[in-house]
Symmetry: D3
Subunit: 281 residues, 6 copies
C-alpha cells in the first residue's frame, strides 16, 4: 500500500465533489425510492485488472454522507487488482451510499486509471534502471491526487508545480539568450534546495548545457540514436531525462538507451478510467 | 461557436488551478530567466485535428496573470480544427504568459479532448436520428466545464447531478420492490419540472416500466436485437436511451436500432487529451 | 418527517453563520458571565402553531460548538407544531449552547416560517388536485435550505436554478420572435432530461404555445375565467401552472379552475418567521 | 443616499448567489432563446412605494456577467420610492442581463423590503426622540447586508454579533446569580471600547441593574406603564431600550414613554419583499 | 486558563496552515523515513519562561492529521511557564505528529510570544490602575487569534475592527473640520452600543474633545507632563488612553500619570516568538 | 526591485484581510466623519531606515476599496529606504483610503520588517561566500508572502513546505535507525527533482551522513570550531548549512567558517515591524 495524502488535503476535494453532485436539491431518486433508515451492503470491485488508487477518497465520500458507515478496505492504494477483485466492502445507510456512489467511483476510477497506466509503463522498463515519472499535465485542481496515483503505480513524481524546481524550456532559453546563460541565471537566483533542469533539443545544445552542470537535462524528442549519444556524452555527471511522445510501444527502447528518467505526460492527461463498480450484496 | 459558461462560474476554477501550479514560491524559472517587463508573442495551435473547447479558460488564465494581455481568439469553443490550426494569438508579459501556459493548456487540452471524442461519436450516428449524450462520470470539480465540452462536441447533456432529474437504477428498483413501484414513488415525490428516467435490463422489465409511463427508459447493456424489440414495444411513447459499453465501433449500429439517445461515459471519463501547444512567434 | 439535505451541504452554511455571529472576539457575554464547564439543559419550543423545518441546522449549530452536546429531536422537519410544542431538548456546555442559540434560532425560525406558510397554502387547496410550488425568489445563498423548507410544508419545488429546466418568459419570447419560435429553439437546444415551460399572458399566446407542445405552460396573471378557459383548451396535454399574485385568499379559487400547479413566490420571499425560542429547563 | 458596504464585502456574496442560480449548466433558457451578442435595455422599477436598498448588489450581479454593462442608478440606497418609480436603467448583453435578473432582484427585493419596513417604524416614532434599532435576528450569511438595509431605512444598528457588545440576557443572569453579579463580571472582563447592556424583565430587576450602571438596560416585554416607571427611575443615567413584541401598531406608544431605543426583530426576520421588477424598454 | 475562541473559528485557520505546509505532495521526509503505523510519544515544552497561548491550535493541528491522537494539556492558554516547562504530552501516529509539528509550533510560538510580551507589560503596570490594551496592528488573517493571545497575557482588547467602535484619528479630524465636529458626526451616526473614541495630539485639542464628551480620548504621543495635565483636566469624565511609542522602559511612568488605558502596538506587531519545541520522549 | 508573487496569489489574502477589518458593519468612523466622494492625497513613508516589501499588498488593498485610486510606487519591493523615505504616493477616495490604511500598513510593516532584518543578516556576511536563508518558521497562512519578503532582503529561500525537499531531522533519524539509513530511504523514495538534506548534531554523525552523499547537510548548533572541522571534512562534496541560534552578533563568525548556507529562523518568526505610516499631504 502506497503512502497517501493526509485527509486534511483530500477531504475538501471530496466534499466539494459531493456538493457538485448533490446540487441544490439532493439525491431526488434515492429520497423518492428508498425508505429512510434502510441499510445496504455492497462491494466495490474492479471489472478489469489494474492498480487501485483513491481508496481514501471513496472512504471519505461515503463517511461524509454516513459517518456511521462501516467500510472494510480489502485492497489499499497501490495494490494490483485482478479482474473482478474486490476493493472494499461497505455497509451503510442505503440513501447515503447510493448518493455517494458516483462521486466515490469518479475518484476511484480516474485515479486507478492513472495508477494502472503508470504501472504498465513501470513494468515495461523493469530491469533497465530507468525511472518513469509524470509531468505537470494534470487535471486542474487534482494535481495532488493525480501525482499520488502515479506513485501508487510505482513511478516517481516530477516537480509538483512551478515553485519546487527549475525547468528551463525553449522559451526561457530564447529569453535568456541560450541554455548556458539560462542555467547560470537560475543558479544565481534560487535556493540551495532547488534542483535545476534544462531542456535541450539537440546534441549541440546538450553540450552547451553540460558545460553549466545543471542537476538534470531533459532530452526533448531525441531519436534513440541521439539518446545513446547523449548518455555517452553526459558520462553520468547529470541526470538525463527523456521526454516527448513516449508510448508503451517505445518506452522500453528508450529506457535501454541508458537514460535515467523517462517522463510521460499521458500518465495523467490521457489515462482511461479503470472500470470499477459498486455491487449490492 | 458554442454558448459558454459565464466567467463567474469558470474564473474561480481557473484561479484555483493557477494557485495550484504557482504554489508558495511562484514560477522560479521564468523569474530567473526572463527579464521583468519583457513581452512575448505566441500562438496556441493544435498538433492534431479535433474540436476546440476551453478557450475561455485559457483566456482567463492569461488575463489573471497579465490583465493587459492582448488575446485574439481565432477558433471559438466548438470549432473544428485541422491539424496545425491556430486557436488564438497572444501578446503578453513574457513571465506571465509562460507562468500561465501549463494551466491554460491543461484546461484547453482536456476539454478539447472531450469535445473531439464527442464529435467523433456525434458524427458516427449522423443521419440516424439518435442523439449522443454524456453521463455523470465526470472529473470531480470540473463537471460544469466537461459538460460544456460535450456540448462543444455537438452532443447533449444528460442530467447535471443528482437533483435535476430522477434516474432509477437497479439498486433503487431493488429497494422499492420493482421498477413499477419505483417509478410510482418518484412521480409522487418530485416536482412538475423534473423528468423521470428508469433503467431496465431486460425486455420484461421494460414492459413493467412502460406500464408506468416514465419520461425516459434506459436500456442497459441490451443486445442490438433487444434494442430493436424495445423500440418496437415503446411505440414512441417514451424516450429510449441505450447505455452500456458503447464504443465508436458499436455506436452506429446501436443508433440504427431506432433508440432516441445513446449515453457514453467514455466522453468524459476516458477521452485522451487533444495535443495543443503554445508556440512563440 | 421530510427527507432532508445531507449535512455535507448544510454544515458549511451553519459554520459560516456561526462565524458571522462570533466575529473576531467570540461571545463576550457568555465568556464573562458563565463559568467554564457549566452545563445547561434547555428546550426549543414554538410559541405559535406551525410546521417545523431546519432542525438539522439547529443540531449542527450546537454540535459545532459542543461536539458532546446531547440533543433529542422531538419534532422532525415537516412535523406540525401546536403552539407551545417542544421541538428538541438539549443538554450541553452552557457557553456553547448560548453562543449557538441565535444562529440555531435564525435558521429554525426562518425555515419553519417558510414551512408554515407553505402548509397554509397546501391546506387551502386540499382536495382540488392542484399542487403548490415555490419559485426562484429565494434568499441568496439559502436556496437549498429554503426549497427544503417548502417540501417540509408539503409543497413541491419548482426548478432549483437556471440550469435544471427551461422557463421561457416574456423577454425570451420577445428575443426569439414569439413563444412558438422560443419553444422550438429550446427543444432544439436542451437534453432529454430537461423539461420545457413557457409563460404566456393571454389565451391567444396560450394557443400559440400549445401548438409547440412544451411540457408546462405558465399562465401569468390570468383571471379565473381565463384560467378555466385555458384548462379547457389544454385538454390535459400539458401541465398548466398558474402564477402571479397568488394569496391565501385567492389560492383556492385558482385551484378550483383545474390548473395543475400554482406557484407562489411569497412562500420564500415574504414568509414571516415562526416564533421559536430556547427555554432553559 | 446611505453609505454602503464596500464592494469587497458584498461581491463574494453576489458571486456566490449567481453561482447558486447558474448551477452546473448555466442559463439554459437564455442560451437557447437569445442570440449571442444581442443587447437589451431595461429598467428596474418598484411596483409599490417603499425605500430602496441593495442597489450595489444589483449592480455587481449584472457586472459579474457583463463587465461592459452600462448601469445608471436613478435611486440610491436609502431613497424613498413612489409606486412605479424607476431605480436604475441598464443596457447590457441580453443573455447576461436575463441570467442576472433573478439574483439581482432577490437581493434588491429583500433588502428594500427591510428598508421599507424599517422606514415605517422610524416614521411612526418621528418626533418622540426614540430611535429604532434592529436585532441579531437576521438571515444567516446576510447580516452585513441586512444591517445595511436597516440603516437605509433610517434606523440604527444594534450590535453586529456576539463580540462587539455585551448583552446580558436571562440565561446569563441565571448563570451569574443575578443581574448585578452578571454586570460586574462583564465590566471586569471586557475592554474599554465595549458597551454593556443588561436585559431586565421587571422593575425590581431594573433597580438591581441600575445599581451597577451598565451602559444600556433592555426592558423586555414591559407594559407601557412599567416603561414609564422605568424611565422615571433611570433618570437619564443609562440608555433604556424597549424590546419584545413591538409592532407598527404599538411602537409610537412605546416611544412616547420616553425610552431611548426600541429594538424590533421583525425588521429583519419578517419583512415582506418589496416588489421590484425588471421591465424591458 | 483564559477563555478561548471556539474551534469553529480556529479550525479553518489551522487546516489552511496545514495545507500550506503539506503542499501538493505531503511530508516527503516522514513518508520516506518512518514506517507506516509507527507511534511516537513526545512533549511540547518551552525553552524559556513565558506565558502560553495557542494550545488549542496545536491540538487541532495534530488531531487534523491523527484524529486518534492522545493529547494531554498540562498548561492551558494563559498559564505562566518556567523555562523548560512542559505544555502538553502527545502520543500519536509518528508520521502525523511530525507532519503537524511545524504548523503546531508556528501557532504556539507566535501566540505565546504575544502572550509573553503582553504579560511583561501588564506586570510592569501592576498596581497603577492602568490597563494594557492592544491595537489593530495585527497579522493579517490572524486577528482573532492574536487578540486572544493578548487576553492570555492579561491585557484587554482594543476594538476588533473598523466596525465595533469609532476611533477618530487625525485624518478624520481634518476631514470633519475639527475634533469637535467629528465627534458630533459620529454620535449622530452610530448605534447605542458603539463607543466613540477620539485621538488628540495636544492639550488644546483635548479641551475641544472633552467638550463633546466622547467615551474615550486617546492621548497620542503626549509627554508625561501633558499626560498628567490631561488626567487633571478630564476629571474622570472620560476614559483616557495613552498611545504612541510605549515600551517596557516607559510604560510604568506612563501608567503612573493616572491614565486609564495604555495601548501598545508592539504586543502584536513586534513580539518575538516564544521558543517552544517538541521533544520525543 | 525584487520579482514579486503574482496578484492571483496575493489578492485573496489581501481581500480576506480587508474583510477581517471591515467586519459586518464597515468603517464606522470614516463613514461618519468623511463626506461621501471626498478625495485624499497621502504618502506612505518609513519612519526608519530599512528595506521595503509588500508594496503589492498595499496597492491591492487600496484598489480593492477604490478601483480608481491613483497609486505611484516610488520604492518597489527590495529597495533600501532611508529614514523618512517615501514609498508611494496615493490619491484616492478619502473613505476608501482610510478604510484600507491599517490593512495596507499591516502587510507593509510586517513584510518590510522581515526584509529589513534579512538585509541586516545578508550585509553582515557580505564577502564571505555564505548565503543567508530562511526556515519554515513563518506565520501561518502568510508563508508565500514572508518568503517573498526574505528574497526582498537579499537572502535565499529554504524549502517552501514539507513537499519540495527532504529534510531529515533527529526524529526521522531515530525512526529510521540512523542518519545513514534515513538518507538511503529518502533517496529510494523521492523523485529526481527533490533535494535531500540531513541534519546532524555532531562530527561523528556528519561522517555517517557524508558517506551517503545527500545534497545538503545541516550542522545543528555546532560550535565554530566544529563548523570549521565540518567544512574540512566535507571537502566541498555537499552543501553545508549552519543552523541554530544564529544572531546578528554571531552570524559573521559562522559565515567565516566556510559553511555555504546559514539558516535563520528569526527572519520570519521574530522580525519587528518596520514603522511605516501614511501621511496626508
Amino acid at each position: 500500500m502506497t503512502a497517501g495524502l493526509p485527509d486534511v488535503v483530500v477531504e475538501p476535494l471530496v466534499r466539494a465533489a459531493l456538493a457538485e453532485d448533490l446540487g441544490r436539491g439532493g439525491d431526488l431518486t434515492s429520497i423518492a425510492c428508498i425508505d429512510a433508515g434502510a441499510r445496504l451492503s455492497a462491494r466495490f470491485s474492479s471489472r478489469r485488472a489494474g492498480v487501485v488508487a483513491g481508496v481514501g477518497c471513496m472512504r471519505l465520500a461515503i463517511l461524509a454522507l454516513d459517518p456511521q458507515a462501516h467500510i472494510e478496505i480489502l485492497k489499499g492504494d497501490g495494490a494490483r487488482l485482478a479482474a473482478g477483485a474486490a476493493i472494499a466492502e461497505v455497509e451503510a445507510d442505503a440513501r447515503a451510499l447510493l448518493s455517494a456512489e458516483r462521486t466515490a467511483l469518479n475518484f476511484l476510477g480516474r485515479l486507478s486509471g492513472i495508477a494502472t497506466l503508470t504501472r504498465a509503463f513501470v513494468d515495461a522498463v523493469e530491469g533497465t534502471g530507468a525511472a518513469i515519472t509524470d509531468t505537470r499535465k494534470t487535471t486542474p485542481l487534482l494535481r495532488a491526487l493525480e501525482k499520488h496515483a502515479v506513485r501508487c503505480g510505482g513511478a516517481r513524481n516530477h516537480r509538483f508545480g512551478l515553485d519546487d524546481a527549475v525547468l528551463i524550456k525553449d522559451n526561457h532559453v530564447a529569453a535568456a539568450g541560450g541554455v548556458g546563460p539560462a542555467i547560470r541565471r537560475a543558479k544565481a537566483a534560487v535556493g540551495h534546495l532547488v534542483r535545476i533542469e534544462a531542456e535541450v533539443d539537440s546534441l549541440g545544445q546538450l553540450d552547451e548545457a553540460l558545460a553549466e552542470a545543471p542537476d538534470v537535462i531533459m532530452l526533448d524528442n531525441f531519436s534513440l540514436e541521439d539518446l545513446r549519444a547523449a548518455v555517452a556524452r553526459a558520462m553520468g555527471k547529470v541526470v538525463l531525462e527523456a521526454s516527448g511522445g513516449v508510448s508503451l510501444t517505445t518506452v522500453r527502447a528508450i529506457a535501454e538507451t541508458g537514460v535515467d528518467v523517462i517522463s510521460v505526460g499521458a500518465l495523467t492527461h490521457s489515462a482511461p478510467v479503470l472500470d470499477i463498480g459498486l455491487d449490492v450484496a
